[in-house]
């Protein structure tokens, strides 16, 4: 088999001599491919952890990315999305932590992320790529 495939260089670089990081795309490399994405919301109550769940059913643990609003006490405001995990140095159960198993993606909001009732929005991306 010969040297074949497809690659595209960034503007200003010759595709025949460009290094890997100067390419826009190369079929030599795997990429992150989105299996599903969506939005959700979680109603926090200020006293118990709340977990958002979405079923992917892939049968293996997939890679993922989650963006979430955070409470105004941490500097958040409606519509401003933060990458998570969100961990705070103040201590307590205040973090926002996403994780996945072979059937679901979970986003856990700590019991003390909000001092009281508060609705929070998130967006998730689940990839075909593996996380385990």
């Amino acid at each position: 088999m010969g040297d074949y495939g497809a690659k595209v260089s960034q503007p200003g670089y010759d595709v025949l001599t460009a290094t890997d990081k100067q390419l826009v795309f190369s079929s030599k490399f795997n990429t992150f491919r989105v299996f599903m994405n969506g939005t959700g919301s979680v109603n926090l109550n200020g006293s118990t952890p709340q977990t958002f769940e979405v079923t992917h059913g892939l049968g293996y643990v997939p890679a993922f990315m989650v963006l979430s609003e955070i409470h105004t006490d941490f500097g958040g405001s409606a519509g401003n999305m933060y990458t998570v995990p969100f961990m705070s140095p103040i201590g307590g159960d205040v973090g926002i932590i996403p994780y996945a198993d072979a059937t679901k993606l979970y986003v856990r909001y700590g019991a003390n992320h909000s001092p009281g009732a508060f609705s929070i929005n998130l967006r998730y991306f689940i990839y075909y790529n593996k996380a385990k």
């Binding site: 960034q10 990081k21 992150f32 973090g95 932590i97 979970y106 856990r108 790529n129 385990k132």
Partner: protein, 126 residues
């Protein structure tokens, strides 16, 4: 030079009019290119933590992503997380021009095996 390149639209969108967010691929925009990926099991003692080093020798600091299942076996977390189902253990990582260095916390009670999966990206992290 003319207007050239490759673009693919998502299903249901006309490739000639689709906005970038309605495209599956557009060669005008960079893509994350995964240089290497793999699974690693790291034995973590009950105290003192553990460190695992991946040598890449790229000569620049690459972007990377790591997922890990820790002692609770509740699922895989993104690097930077503390396992809320565990005993306070978490894991962190950093990249240099030669290595990815992963530090994993002990749970303070028993040894366990951390099951990690890493991606090293061609695009610079610095």
């Amino acid at each position: 030079m003319g207007d050239y390149g490759i673009k693919l639209s998502k299903e249901g969108f006309d490739v000639f009019t689709a906005s970038v967010k309605d495209q599956a691929f557009n060669s005008s925009y960079n893509n994350f290119k995964i240089l290497s990926e793999g699974a690693i099991n790291v034995s973590v003692p009950s105290s003192g933590g553990a460190q695992h080093i991946i040598t890449h020798n790229l000569g620049y600091t690459p972007a990377f992503v790591i997922y890990g299942e820790l002692s609770s076996n509740a699922g895989s977390f993104l690097v930077g997380s503390t396992d809320p189902n565990g005993l306070g253990e978490g894991f962190q990582a950093k990249a240099t021009t030669t290595q990815i260095i992963i530090d994993i916390d002990s749970n303070g009670v028993s040894g366990y095996t951390a099951e990690l999966y890493y991606y090293i990206i061609a695009d610079p992290g610095l």
